[in-house]
Symmetry: C2
Subunit: 343 residues, 2 copies
DNA sequence: TGTTAGCACTCATTCCTTTCGAGTGCTAAT
DNA sequence: ATTAGCACTCGAAAGGAATGAGTGCTAACA
């Protein structure tokens, strides 16, 4: 339904606006090398594109800016993945050089990503729910406190301090740890509560006598919320974007970005592949004039987490999509290589 | 050298400005109940206070604002600690209710502090250098990766993944862990490197054969940098302060606050008690128009960490100083109660 | 019939001027 | 020593005028 010429003009306008952040006028377009038409012709086409909803004016005699529909069309039809040799190498080296824990990689990725793009990067995960318990340790600290340490097959370590009653003797504690290790090895974190209620509660009664209170404490330590880890990089990059030249916008952005819960919800809904949400396409009102690009990374079948970039709707979609694609594949690879022989 | 009346006027002006953020004029002062003088008299006194450097004008016919010297005098001589029954209780409950790990307490404290004050709170620590190793675990994850877990006497858990060569056999690994536990129990984290070089290297040679590579890996895992933990709460509170109505100031602030290294240096220099740095009194240029109040908290003799509040020079010094005092004492207490029977 | 030149018109932005009012400093009176 | 009074200063807000980038439309052209 769009002519070749309209496609070309739309693309050039959006490319120009993404770079300059200024409304694009007909004369500027006509001057481009790829455009063999006069400003007047461009004006006519622009008027048509506006009628069709791909462009907007900021006021009656201004140049045009892309509408959300325009960006959507641009993302869906007008961009081909860009080749990012240099950036790709940066990411690969970061992930493959040295031996970093996965959480370190995630954190570094968030930083690199925001540096390469000048937008705000958000990385969610790794989702511990999919991972399985590997080993449990309980280490007494003092007469009435101890720390429980859980290690998962992905090398993730969680610990919880808990208080132990004075009366308990150390052999009882040891027996409990043994039972836990026997029973919980290989159990997905998500199913811990279930497993406790179905089997372990009863077992504990059978093998270990008179430890009601300390067992409750221990169980409590295991079933506490497992917080979702959230890494955000380049928050202040947004301040450099010309659309954030207004104190109120900045306030709104920072109020949003520091609300972890909201961010987690925002990212969690993303499924496979790369998803682009432009402006009001986002459910969350606070980012209704920003765009969010998300990509999932995996370990085997189960989804592990989400990588995202948040920027103005005037975003370098081409570059961002390519970068996220590279990074999510690298992260999936490194996870696979590292934990393929898990048990 | 200041008359009683000048003291009174200075105090009223600063109090007023702290509340309103607007330059204070003579008429407004004269209207206050505690002031039995006319505006003209106040004007004369204000001129004198300005000559002495306690007050400033923003322009030739504006009201007065406090100078840094004025704030300094105010902090040193004009404020008595305020009674914060309600806020004090909030803090006490937070710290004493439930059983939280110390790091959780620190994080919660940062949040509560920024909520109670509407400034930005920064908490440094707990300094792990002062703490001692309690136990070491090494847990194999796959054929060639393992995770080393260090637990300190304060319940702090650190973990590092490292790769192990395929050739190693598990009994060798076990021997190594035993040696490490024997040798390192009770050793301050700070002295780990020393201890390794002085004794453990040699021991390993004696007891365990042919494990050069994996031992190097393991040692590397132990001697990696122990990052200083930094908790910052209420970054966006600053945006609500009227002095941050300018995009450039916001940029400068966020650029500074997200530079962890600089922040750590800023706080580390603080010694005992509560220290107030007003505006240019701060060494760091980036906060030359902010004030920083720091308080140390302790475990026994050794300093553990620092609590700080960062706000505009027009800060509620009275309240902030009282809050920091309460919180640092509570944190010191809880540390003492919890780890007094360490070994 | 598609393209382009030309021109009147629109509107944000910038700069200047005016007005307003809060506040000062100084002088003279109490 | 204190205060009333008054001229003066200066920032902030409000109102024009000038500028210029950009449009829509019409009429001419290939």
């Amino acid at each position: 339904m769009l002519t070749e010429r309209q496609l070309l003009i739309l693309q050039v306008i959006i490319d120009d606006f993404i770079e300059s952040a200024h409304p694009v006028g007909s004369r500027a377009i006509a001057k481009k090398e790829v455009i063999p038409y006069s400003a007047a012709t461009i004006r006519n086409e622009m008027a048509d594109l506006e009628d069709m909803g791909f462009l907007e004016k900021t006021h009656s005699s201004s140049g045009r800016i892309p509408s959300e529909k325009g960006y959507r069309y641009y993302v869906d039809h007008l961009i081909s993945p860009s080749i990012l040799q240099k950036e790709g190498n940066v990411i690969k080296h970061m992930i493959q050089d040295g031996f970093f824990e996965f959480e370190q990689i995630v954190q570094m990725s968030a930083e690199v990503l925001s540096e390469l793009t000048n937008y705000t990067s958000i990385i969610l995960g790794p989702e511990i729910f999919e991972t399985k318990l590997k080993q449990i340790q309980i280490i007494p600290l003092s007469a009435n406190t101890a720390v429980a340490i859980l290690v998962t097959n992905t090398g993730h370590v969680e610990h919880r301090s808990f208080s132990i009653p004075e009366e308990i003797n150390s052999s009882d504690l040891e027996k409990m740890v043994n039972i836990l290790n026997d029973q919980l090895h290989g159990v997905p974190i998500l199913q811990l509560a279930e497993k406790f209620n179905a089997e372990i509660d009863a077992m504990m009664q059978k093998y270990v006598s008179d430890l009601d209170k300390s067992y409750q404490h221990l169980k409590g330590a295991f079933l506490q919320d497992h917080p979702v880890k959230l890494y955000i990089g380049g928050k202040s990059n947004m301040l450099m974007q010309p659309e954030f030249n207004d104190v109120n916008k900045i306030r709104a952005f920072y109020t949003m970005i520091e609300n972890e819960e909201e961010i987690v919800n925002l990212l969690k809904q993303s499924n496979d592949g790369i998803k682009v949400s432009i402006g009001r396409e986002n459910d969350v009102d606070a980012i209704k004039d920003l765009s969010l690009i998300t990509a999932a990374y995996h370990l085997g079948e189960g989804q592990m987490g989400t990588i995202a970039l948040l920027g103005p709707t005037r975003m370098e979609y081409r570059k961002v999509i390519s970068l996220l694609s590279i990074l999510s594949h690298e992260m999936t690879d490194v996870l696979y290589m590292r934990y393929k022989d898990e048990n």
